[in-house]
Amino acid sequence: MSHRLQFTAKKLVRMALLLLGVSLTAFLLMNASPLDPLQTNVGQAALGSMSPEQIAKLEEYWGADTPAAERYLSWLGSALRGDLGVSLLYRRPVLEVIGQRLSTSLWLLACAWVLSGALGLGLGLLAGANRGRWPDRLVRGCCLTVSSTPAFWLGLLLLIVFAVWLKILPIGMAVPIGGGQATLLERLRHALLPGLTLSITGAANIALHTREKVVDVLDSDYILFARARGERHILRRHVLRNVALPAVTLQFASIGELIGGSVLVEQVFSYPGLGQAAVSAGLGSDMPLLLGITVVTAALVFGGSLTADLLYGAIDPRIRKGAAAQ
């Protein structure tokens, strides 16, 4: 058991270092960008009509003349205390903005995560088990087409079909416009199209990977032996069991792709989630918010891969029984 704890501790330290690196890189990139927070937030016209003293005061407020290293360290100091600063665009604490946006996005992400995992695994198994026959060719053809299609384009396509032509699903937003408190059903209806867009893209990748793994397993010695012994339910007994490990890794690794995809998809569907906030923060030079979103999403992605690593240890008997410790 102690080697599992050690393993987890090591992973956590690694994750913390990675987060530090991500925040520093993001900070340096934003610092090097030509966007001037003063101009974007106060407005060029307003800035032009201000007195030099007023500008100096504002510059001090935005911290424009403090050295970059000092600003990063002070950001880091507050961040460690749980304070990510105040968003310039929303005039509210960054954590509050992120929390609210994330809770909206979570509908979408969770929906897409579950759907893409289930669909991808199912299609991958179907294709792999029917290698070379028409279900395999069909699934592979569709998946290759989808994975070479940009997510936002797929989103537009779904939007045109379901919202514009068929008019059975809302065209965007997370809740009906001006509709007071939204019901669960309404929220789901609004999350459906963007969720579907994300799921289809994610499922295609997972299906293609799962299919390859299934084919590898089917070519293995132990499947040959199972067949030689006249075993039934080989797919359930052996293939599923051995595909489970890579499937778990894939599923948790897909969190990163989902979050990345959601930035574009939320834009297409005017879905007021974290992805959309990231775009606004970028365009509006809202450095504290952008930095906050970068760090929080990076933490989500790393958290996903950490979960995968830990689950791996729980599923794989070779690790569970301590073979990895030797």
């Binding site: 040959l224 030689a228 006249g230 339910h233 052996h238 073979a323």
Partner: protein, 257 residues
């Protein structure tokens, strides 16, 4: 005695796609014949790549997808069709494969030996066959990676004798074992033969084959070169094929010849 298994004129070829997409067939076995009698161990000796595993897989109808087989395989006097093989596999005809990679790495040994059956009967039988090969009931709870080479071989034999097979096909079951462990494995085969089963013992190790088999079939170039008894082989009588004669010359104890 009527053979339990007879293979006549077995050929196995593979479809290969060359440059320019012309389809060419590549033959691995061409006109192989042999027969296994009940109560006997027939050793099939051939070098690596001679097609020994293909022979085993052809008998069980588990050849790779790109393989084509022709010829006659008869089991218990009747033609061994795919449908019949599917019924007999794991019941009357058992394969003993080469090593631990033939066990599912994610499944406990006990469950694999029982093929997932959990009836008290199956459990009792499983413990019984494990005990027969000197393995305790705790072996059931182990995963394949926890087995030593010798244990894995005994587990694979236990898999084969869960039901009482009448034909056992052992495909190189000894590599990686020291002489003593290999000797024990071969002893188990002799014992199974003495109880009436026919054993097809596939190996590239001529010395092992000579020590355990009732008859030896030498495979060369996808064909049967010679089938003789160990004493005939040692004496050098009845060897018709130049390859078999060369094989005999190359044996350590024949150095002086």
């Amino acid at each position: 005695m009527e053979p339990i298994l007879s293979v006549e004129d077995l050929s196995v070829s593979f479809a290969r796609y060359d440059r320019g997409l012309s389809r060419r067939s590549l033959s691995a076995l061409r006109g192989l014949s042999l027969a296994v009698e009940p109560g006997q161990v027939l050793a099939v000796v051939g070098e690596s790549g001679a097609g020994k595993s293909l022979l085993a897989h052809a008998i069980l109808h588990i050849l790779p997808r790109n393989a084509q087989a022709s010829g006659t395989i008869r089991y218990g006097g009747a033609s061994l069709t795919r449908e019949r093989a599917e019924v007999l596999r794991g019941r009357e005809v058992a394969l003993i494969p080469q090593g631990v990679t033939f066990l599912d790495p994610m499944m406990k040994v006990g469950s694999q030996i029982r093929r997932g059956e959990n009836s008290p009967d199956a459990r009792a039988r499983c413990r019984q066959v494990l005990e027969r090969y000197g393995l305790g009931p705790e072996t059931e709870e182990l995963y394949p990676f926890q087995l030593s080479g010798g244990m894995a071989r005994r587990v694979l034999i236990a898999c084969a004798v869960m039901e009482s097979p009448r034909l056992i096909i052992a495909d190189e079951p000894t590599p990686g074992l020291d002489a003593k462990a290999a000797g024990r494995v071969l002893g188990h085969f002799r014992e199974l033969a003495e109880q009436g089963a026919g054993v097809l013992f596939i190996t590239h190790d001529l010395t092992l084959a000579l020590s355990v088999a009732d008859r030896i079939t030498v495979l060369y170039d996808g064909q049967t070169a010679d089938t003789v008894s160990p004493s005939q082989f040692r004496a050098g009588t009845g060897l018709t094929h130049p390859y078999t004669r060369a094989l005999r010359q190359a044996m350590p104890e024949n150095d002086f010849l």
